[in-house]
């Protein structure tokens, strides 16, 4: 179990670095898009490459940050039932969910995306818009996103088992909607008082 937890914390750290870095892509996307808008209006020209760069950046941001979001336990849930059951039951729901909901999906996507991306690289696929960007890096990001999610899934399974055995504390315990609202409010109040 120790070795597995080591692997898990390595995956966690890696996805944290990637996830945090992705925010900056959004800032770049904002600046690129604002510049595009001004250029389009003032100089009456626009470049498909720059337009495509906007969603390239956004796509990379959300695809590659999804694993970190999973780690932070921040993918939204419906908590009508989940919020009312015992911690033990919640842990079982999470573990079985990771095993039977998350992993089959992300692994299947990796399985189908590998040939999809390989095909795109081999053919040197380029955007159909004139002057557009090459496509395969974006498709490779899609694949990378699902690979990172698969890894994070493995890490979550390891952690969940360790939590259930009492080996570690839950790093991101569940908060129901009300507690979440309170936490959020608390953060905003602190912000306001600064």
């Amino acid at each position: 179990m120790r070795g597995l937890l080591g692997l898990s914390s390595f995956i966690d750290r890696f996805n944290e670095i990637v996830g945090k870095a992705m925010g900056w892509l959004i800032l770049v996307a904002v600046l690129v898009s604002a510049t595009n808008a001004v250029v389009r209006k003032v100089f009456s020209t626009s470049s498909n490459a720059w337009l495509e760069l906007q969603w390239y950046l956004f796509g990379a941001a959300f695809m590659l940050a999804a694993a970190y979001t999973l780690r932070q336990n921040e993918h939204v849930r419906i908590d009508v039932l989940y919020g009312r059951v015992s911690d033990k039951t919640r842990q079982w729901i999470d573990l079985l969910g990771h095993l039977f909901f998350l992993m089959p999906f992300v692994l299947l996507m990796v399985y189908y995306l590998v040939p999809y991306v390989a095909q795109s690289i081999r053919s040197g696929e380029v955007s159909t818009n004139s002057g557009g960007l090459i496509i395969w890096p974006a498709k490779a990001i899609l694949l990378a996103g699902f690979v990172l999610l698969s890894l994070q899934g493995i890490s979550e399974i390891i952690k969940k088992i360790a939590i259930m055995q009492g080996l570690i504390e839950d790093p991101h315990p569940f908060h129901n909607a009300k507690e979440q609202a309170e936490l959020e409010a608390q953060a905003l109040i602190e912000e306001a008082q600064k």
Partner: protein, 617 residues
């Protein structure tokens, strides 16, 4: 048994989705898992289904392309931009400044603080667009004032919670973006359609306070004049306002020959900038020709208004697409925060982290929904739902009633992203079959989903208010008096009148579709139209279109079977389908546009609808 399952796989799949979701595992992956599970079941049962299941293994190969479609989607790009803009503004302290100043301005009239809360709520909705931030800021700043001077606790709580939810319906709300995406319409049209209902709703909130101030004046007392620490001086504010109108009108007249229909918005911009510049000079040079109150109101109010123009104004006059406007708004927010000395690295990284998180979970719900729908369509689920919804008695109204009821109930448990990504794609085919305008439907759904923030006991706005409202007896910091806490059932009771107003607004939009449908060029009643056939001129070409009775046109489109989206296509349409509707040169509701461009309406049904031009011939 097996055959029964094979023949009814769609309902079974839907029921099991409910089960999957209610377990509480993250929605995105539960959706995808449900889709995949039933894909396997579906392929196995296909031979027994008598052709109602059209799934086979090679179909799974289309998954990468479906997800690629989500990633390369331009529309949803506006989500991170508006989110980022909202969070930066929230951290810039704009809400606090507005509440304080506008509160002082209106405070001494009866119901004044409540009006201020509603107005600021609408302003924040059009800029920050975050329900949590609005409710919390109001709860921290305005609620103590309202309690101190004896507002009815229920009225105070309800007003704050409801005003915070305006962020859901006032453009550039995220709900409207995802709705537009799922309905397959343009975000610009959605904003055009939603703006009038949003303004009317704000007006109704204020009307409610006005009625209270007449029939239960003790519930919304006026504040004593000494509360205005900025001093008196409404007169000079009035003078400034009159000057603004005069300059704006002058600029309008001056610009009209060159700018046409956009001159009114541009004229207003000139007027506002002139007053702002004058006020800044007046204050910094110490001339003080204006009262302090007037200076403060103008200085606090103009930056958000400028931002609203930068975002919504540019969309409405066709200068920018919603995505571009979002990006410019985000840059504008950064500049504003910088000028207020509230921009730091921590603010930027905080906003970026929150934006990335929201983007990741929203986009993954969409990805999960795409996997789900691959199977659901393969088992003819869309046909099942369409049949279910179109067989509701009462046609269009029956459909709207059922859909709204379902959404209202689901709104207690699901948030709007889930509702829009799961439910809306299912109802679109039925809505299409009934000939319902999808923007109109979208605005109705957005208003409906707004109530889910207010409905006890799960309404999020109520949670936010609960977390900042006093829970036990406390000593007021100003008067030193011991005050009672705000009880949770007072918050719930306060929300109810506003829920009723919301639902009334839903009914109003259903009964008067014109409130939304003005987003497209008004439809011409063929019997009252004189048309001089256009020679093939470029876009600017003059058309002698005499508009028919505006009130009559809504009836008109119901009477034309097979063509339920008859926007007028009068001008020769260069690039017809591609013309972004945001480019429609509509100044607003008032004057009928001089030049009518093809709306997006029939463009989505070219096979069913002939352009009206042909009909008139």
């Amino acid at each position: 048994m097996i055959e029964f399952i094979a023949l009814n796989l769609a309902p079974i799949m839907f029921a099991s989705l409910v089960l999957f979701l209610i377990l509480g595992y993250p929605v995105a992956f539960a959706l995808a898992a449900n889709g995949l599970l039933f894909f396997f079941i579906g392929v196995e049962l296909a031979p027994l289904s008598g052709g109602s299941i059209t799934l086979d293994w090679p179909l799974l190969n289309t998954l990468p392309n479906r997800i690629w479609g989500v990633m390369s989607n331009d529309t949803l790009l506006a989500i991170p931009f508006f989110t980022f803009m909202g969070i930066v503004l929230e951290r810039s302290g704009m809400a606090e400044d507005l509440l304080d100043t506008i509160g002082q301005l209106f405070g001494p009239i009866r119901g004044g603080v409540a009006y201020a809360v509603i107005l600021v709520g609408a302003l924040l909705a059009a800029t920050t667009g975050v329900v949590a931030a609005s409710v919390i800021a109001m709860g921290l700043i305005s609620l103590p004032i309202m309690l101190r001077y004896g507002y009815d606790r229920r009225v105070a709580a309800g007003t704050i919670a409801a005003s915070g939810t305006l962020a859901q319906i006032v453009p550039p709300s995220l709900v409207l973006i995802v709705l537009a995406d799922q309905l397959g319409r343009s975000v610009g049209d959605m904003y055009h359609g939603a703006i009038l209902p949003a303004l009317i709703l704000t007006g109704l909130y204020m009307a409610y306070i006005f009625l209270l101030s007449i029939f239960r004046p003790e519930a919304v007392p006026a504040l004593p004049p000494e509360v205005r620490t900025l001093g008196r001086g409404v007169t000079s504010l009035m003078v400034a306002f009159v000057a603004l109108m005069a300059i704006g009108y002058g600029a309008h007249v001056w610009l009209y020959p060159t700018q046409g229909a956009n001159a009114d918005i541009l004229g207003a911009v000139v007027g506002v900038l002139a007053i702002y510049a004058y006020t800044l000079i007046d204050k910094t040079m110490g001339l003080n020709t204006m009262s302090r109150l007037a200076q403060q109101v103008i200085i606090v109010l103009i930056p958000p208004l400028a931002l609203i123009f930068l975002v919504l104004g540019t969309i409405f006059i066709g200068l920018a697409t919603p995505t571009e406007a979002g990006a410019m708004g985000a840059v504008g927010a950064l500049v504003l925060a910088f000028l207020k000395r509230r921009l730091s690295l921590a603010v930027i990284t905080g906003a970026l982290t929150a934006t990335t998180r929201l983007s990741a979970f929203v986009m993954f719900i969409l990805i999960g929904a795409r996997v789900f729908s691959l199977t659901f369509y393969g088992v003819n689920g869309h046909v099942w739902v369409e049949h279910l919804l179109t067989s509701v008695p009462g046609g269009e109204y029956g459909f709207l009633f059922v859909v709204n009821l379902v959404l209202f109930v689901l709104g207690f448990f699901l948030d709007f992203f889930e509702l829009v990504f799961i439910i809306v794609p299912l109802i679109v085919p039925a809505a299409d079959a009934l000939g319902i305008d999808l923007i109109w439907l979208g605005v109705i759904l957005a208003l409906n989903m707004q109530t889910s923030f207010l409905t006890p006991p799960f309404g999020f706005a109520l949670f936010y208010l609960r977390s900042v409202a006093p829970k036990s007896r406390y000593k007021d910091t100003v008067t030193g008096k011991l005050e009672d806490p705000v009880r949770t059932n007072q918050i719930y009771a306060g929300a109810i009148p506003f829920i009723v107003i919301q639902l009334a607004m839903v009914v109003m939009v259903i009964v008067f579709p014109q409130l939304v449908l003005h987003y497209k060029a008004p439809v011409i009643d063929p019997s009252t139209v004189k048309i001089e056939m256009p020679t093939l001129q470029p876009l600017g070409g003059g058309l002698g279109v005499v508009l028919g009775n505006r009130a009559g046109w809504a009836v008109d489109w119901e009477h034309r079977p097979g063509c339920r989206h008859p926007a007028v296509a009068a001008a020769p349409a260069p690039g017809g389908l591609g013309t972004p509707p945001a480019l429609q040169p509509q100044g607003g509701l008032g004057a009928p546009p001089a030049l009518v461009q093809p709306g997006a309406g029939w463009a989505s049904h070219p096979q069913r609808c002939r352009p009206l031009q042909a009909v008139i011939e």
